[in-house]
């Protein structure tokens, strides 16, 4: 295998492993649209990073976190439902990102790479970034696992039982933002949420406990990444969409398996 294929595989597997447990919580907490909104705002982060000559990954994390905090603050008002707010912020930030990028003359930027991913061009540094972040995500998630799960099952019961609900939630949002910032390159900001929710949905069919579901989601994500990359090389498909399609196929197959049982 060529070097770039190995690097793509290693990077993709790293992202998929971290996506498993994160995605499980995204599905349990019904935050798919929230993940989408964070991902779309990542392009604004990219644009601002270039504008201020800052580290792009850092800029993406900062924008995602600010957006998450803004959303939490806005949710306190009762007039607009959360999904409406998310829609406004999601497309507003995506458009703002595109406009800012268009304004920067002389910047030759692979926009499609950001939107749909460019896994075949990951560098050694990208891989290091993905694995360091992935380890951090898994470690912090393990730490807040119980409180976050208790909060997901029933917030007030958890609070009465002394669970620190708010730190767990904030921590989780931060992890999501971090994850999106580093995995952007693999599937792109338009498809990132699928890597979170599709493997988790597949895993649901086989899991009996939350932990099993998180583990199976990671495994199914790894399968999707490997299968997608192979298909992409074999038939010269765009890699990011191929990965997502394999993930969806796994979901459909798992659905069929479940029906037969």
């Amino acid at each position: 295998m060529d070097d770039f294929v190995v690097r793509a595989l290693v990077a993709g597997v790293g992202v998929a492993v971290a996506a498993g447990p994160l995605g499980a919580f995204v599905v349990w907490r019904r935050m798919a649209y929230f993940g989408d909104t964070l991902a779309h705002s990542a392009l604004l982060g990219v644009a601002l990073g270039f504008l201020f000559h800052a580290n792009v990954t850092l800029a993406v994390v900062v924008v995602c976190v600010l957006l998450a905090l803004l959303l939490v603050a806005l949710q306190r008002q009762q007039r607009l439902a959360s999904d409406t707010l998310l829609g406004i912020m999601s497309h507003g930030s995506l458009s703002l990102g595109l406009v800012v990028l268009a304004f920067m003359e002389g910047l030759r930027l692979d926009l499609l790479g950001y939107l749909f991913g460019d896994i075949l061009s990951v560098t050694r540094d990208d891989i290091i970034g993905i694995y360091l972040t992935g380890l951090l995500v898994l470690a912090v998630l393990a730490l807040i696992w119980r409180p976050l799960l208790a909060d997901t099952v029933h917030e007030e019961l958890a609070r009465v039982e002394g669970v620190a609900v708010i730190p767990a939630r904030l921590g989780f949002m931060l992890l999501l933002a971090l994850f999106i910032a580093v995995s952007m390159k693999v599937v792109g900001i338009l498809l990132i949420t699928s890597l979170l929710i599709v493997p988790a949905a597949t895993a649901r069919h086989f899991a009996r406990t939350p932990e099993q579901m998180a583990l199976y989601a990671s495994l199914s994500g790894c399968l999707a990444v490997s299968g997608g990359l192979l298909a992409s090389l074999q038939w010269d498909l765009p890699a990011g969409p191929a990965v997502v399609l394999v993930a969806v196929m796994l979901f459909v197959v798992s659905f069929g398996c479940r029906r037969q049982n």
């Binding site: 099952v153 039982e161 009996r208 406990t209």
Partner: protein, 260 residues
């Protein structure tokens, strides 16, 4: 049962507005060890809110809340719906509240009569079973005070009586204080030491028999008890907002649908 003197929790002259609407108006409530106190009142009367105040989930505008130092509270929320997308066995659900030994978990589940459900997915349990599981989770915390919000919700009449008996037995076994929210006096009467009839303010309080013949209670609930066990099921109604229809208007209401 005579109530002991140990005060577990007390709300003093509590006042609370929610979105411009007065929910609690100078409400006093005390729960001692070994007694069962029941809050009754129509929907929107502030029963659950008062329970939430004691639980520390809602802050009051005026008045104060006393909890005995080191008080352990077991809470049974009004409604628990767990999304089917979350795979959760009863065992995992119980350990979310407090880590405990296998033997202890078995013992408490036996106590509430749900011993064979340990490995069942929690979404597959019936209404009555789920209430018992919730009770088990509260009991695993070795509570001094149990706060049960509509504990018989979603349970058929026979099951309701069983549950009330179970709650009464738990009070004896665990020697804890119990605060229960209900919109139904007759079924809880036998197992309650003290009733507080709430409609934003405390309408009346005392022994269940006294309360059930109190004019304030009758004004709120309409007809006197004793006509039939289930009179309460259709002698108080609410408009579509959940607000109480005043007693004068509720005479002659034709709706007899199942309620509660």
């Amino acid at each position: 049962m005579e109530k002991s003197t140990e005060l577990l929790a007390e709300a003093r002259a509590v006042q609370l507005d929610l979105q411009g609407r007065q929910v609690l108006d100078h409400v006093d409530l005390a729960v001692h060890r070994g007694e069962i106190v029941t809050l009754i009142g129509p929907n929107g009367a502030g029963k659950s809110t008062l329970a939430r105040v004691l639980l520390g989930l809602t802050k009051v505008d005026h008045g104060s809340v006393y909890l005995r130092p080191g008080l352990r509270i077991g809470y049974m929320p009004q409604r628990l719906t767990i999304d089917p997308v979350l795979p959760l066995t009863v065992r995992r659900f119980l350990t979310l509240g407090k880590r405990c030994t296998e033997a202890r978990m078995q013992e408490v589940l036996q106590e509430v009569g749900a011993g064979d459900l340990l490995e069942a997915p929690i979404q597959n349990t019936s209404g009555g079973e789920l209430q018992r599981i919730l009770l088990a989770r509260a009991l695993l915390r070795d509570p001094d005070l149990l706060i049960l919000d509509e504990p018989v919700q979603g349970v058929d009449i026979t099951g309701q009586l069983d549950l009330y008996r179970l709650i009464s037995r738990i009070r004896d076994r665990f020697n804890c204080g119990i605060l229960m929210v209900s919109h139904d006096l007759h079924l809880v009467m036998a197992t309650t030491d003290r009733v507080l009839c709430l409609n934003q303010h405390v309408c009346c309080s005392g022994h269940p028999e006294d309360v059930s013949s109190d004019p304030a209670y009758l004004a709120l609930f309409g007809s006197p008890p004793g006509l039939a066990v289930y009179t309460h099921h259709h002698n108080h109604r609410h408009n579509l907002d959940g607000h109480i229809i005043p007693a004068t208007e509720q005479q002659g209401t034709k709706e007899n649908t199942k309620h509660g």
